[in-house]
Chain length 344, copies 2
DNA sequence: TGTTAGCACTCGACGACGTTGAGTGCTAAT
DNA sequence: ATTAGCACTCAACGTCGTCGAGTGCTAACA
């Protein structure tokens, strides 16, 4: 027995209905609501076959059937192939013209995504190998303290206060800044770390402060690559019938709180522009009944970021996929050309 | 009929028990568990009086009693006066020696607070009038774009990419940066906004880019004063029996998501170092069965921040208050003297 | 006068039980 | 190959009686 076209159509109807209602769907529902010209008995036989093939599960003997992860996978693959997504549900622009701070863009994107989809959205800041130092500034803040600002082509990666000895006045700090910038501009963070000892030897009178700067650079280098993780619509998950049980919801919510872990889960592997991971495919046991849909966007410096939506496996895939794709493009347009959000 | 000492002791016992169990407490419980040398009948009479006085509520005729907001208020005021908190539950230091980025400190503080209290913690970044510009930098990122970095004594308030015309090479940008810094250093953001037009007149050849800078400064000025809001333990709230009803939890959670609103609710009014707002006192209808306990910390620039814990009115006040106070001090120690977290 | 024992009463929580209805699998007829 | 029919299963739901924690009231007591 194999998967024929009719079985597939029935499966599709079951999935559609289940996505809509979250209630196990029975043979009568299919034969009536989706007029396939078949009686419930026939559907019943087919459903029995589909169950044997692993596409359907039955919570109880006398309940309807529920699509399995395998069924969703088939469904999504079909969606991806059929090219229906190309319709590109054109979104209005959600970013007011002005260029904003990266973090604000990310938070806003997460917020928009969650409100469009009614699921939980996660947006990861762009990451990539090409982060090079542009400028290092020591700024006097008070007689005894200064601010270290390390700027890369991806923005400010570090700003921290250090204590300085009194003889370092504004001018001296400025001189040091210039020397640092000159020596390190264009370096990656790794290279900068390696060169620092040389610099420290050359400017021994300021070794203390260079030491601090060195520390900050190496910290920035070691830091989790996703400097910012935007989350939107965490509360949406409590509306899913799947999480009417508070204990389950708790597990999910606390996962959202550990942002590094979350980022590593959501982070896109491979370079596909649209990825769907269903249930067990997420690789996270706690999320075996969730799906993650992700898309990518890229910035003018060639770095890539990820936007994602997390929902129950019973997710409105086609809608979510279309929205993510559109949003990915919108972000790429926004960040791709600095200062000109409305391109073309 | 007035509040006498015995009534107060009974009330205290009821509150203690209710905080612990979240179950309406009856007269027998008090007379047995808390040996007051009184029979349940006597307690019953007293409880009836306490109810009449408005300190107790009765969910059902045949259930025990629950402390009212008024009761908690009395309880907390007594705690505050009795000076028991002075014991100062000395916390271990939760911040590893190194000076960290302000945002990291805030997030970590929220995380620590929530895990110590098992409630939800909110930490607001310091705010205050004394934010003065220290430095403005234009950093070349690519031939066509530059990064604007605005530094104040409170750290970087803005870093955004702007598009520049090609003739603005690194040196020119540098010259502009110097001029800007010279002209605006020491100004508040308001003052800077006012002076910009003059500068633009003086440097007409670079009016475009100055225009952008002007925009960013005024944006930073208008921005919500709490640039960063750290939240910890949001998932903890799902463990409170009060929120076993998912719908209620949803309301709370979505409140946590709108950080500006949250900040304005938590933000401390007045200059008391420890504040407790109980139920209706929070001023937020959605939080009529929550309490907010806040403390303050301050930085070396004299700016004040707020740390807070949100929990059910049935909160373990004494513990939470002691922890907040200790954490407030720890943060002040950490941020009070730049570069020397371990002072004394 | 304050305290306590006793008692009738209330009412939510809980388990037992029967009913209902959606859904299934199987069989026999078309 | 499809479908009508039928027996069967089982979660959901409402009803009902029991249980027990808790109350208020009264009368006795120190």
């Amino acid at each position: 027995m194999a998967m024929d076209d009719r079985k597939f159509r029935i499966l599709q109807a079951i999935i559609d209905d289940y996505i809509l209602t979250a209630v196990p769907v029975g043979s009568r529902t299919i034969s009536k609501k989706y007029d396939m010209g078949l009686s419930s008995a026939t559907i019943r036989n087919e459903m029995s076959d589909l169950e044997e093939l692993g596409y359907l599960d039955q919570p109880h003997v006398s309940a309807g059937r529920i699509p399995s992860a395998k069924a969703y996978r088939l469904y999504v693959d079909q969606l991806l192939q059929s090219g229906k997504l190309r319709s590109e549900e054109s979104l209005p622009s959600y970013f007011n013209g002005r260029v904003q701070k990266m973090e604000e863009v990310i938070d806003r994107a997460a917020q928009v995504l969650s409100s469009l989809t009614q699921y939980t959205a996660v947006v990861l800041s762009p990451t990539g190998p090409r982060m090079r130092i542009r400028n290092i500034q020591l700024v006097s803040v008070s007689p005894e303290s200064a601010l270290v600002v390390i700027v890369t082509d991806a923005g400010v990666v570090r700003d921290s206060v250090v204590r300085v000895s009194r003889q370092l006045d504004a001018d001296t700090l400025y001189t040091i800044s210039r020397a640092l910038t000159e020596a390190l501009s264009g370096c990656t963070l790794e290279e900068a770390c390696e060169r620092m000892p040389v610099l420290m030897g050359r400017m021994q009178e300021n070794a203390a402060i260079l030491q601090s700067v060195h520390g900050y650079i190496s910290e920035a280098r070691d830091r989790n690559p996703h400097s910012h993780v935007g989350i939107g619509g965490a509360s949406n998950m409590l509306s899913w019938p799947e999480y009417s049980d508070v204990e389950k919801a708790r597990g999910f919510l606390s996962l959202l709180e550990t942002r590094e872990k979350l980022a590593s889960i959501v982070a896109q592997q491979g370079d596909v522009s649209l990825t769907v991971r269903i249930g067990p495919e997420t690789g996270v046991p706690e999320m075996s009944d969730c799906s993650i849909v992700t898309a990518t966007y890229s910035t003018h410096t060639g770095r890539q970021g990820t936007i994602g939506v997390i929902g129950p496996t019973r997710m409105h895939y086609s809608k979510v996929m279309a929205i993510l794709q559109a949003m990915g493009h919108q972000l790429t347009d926004l960040l791709g050309e600095p200062g000109s959000p409305e391109r073309k």
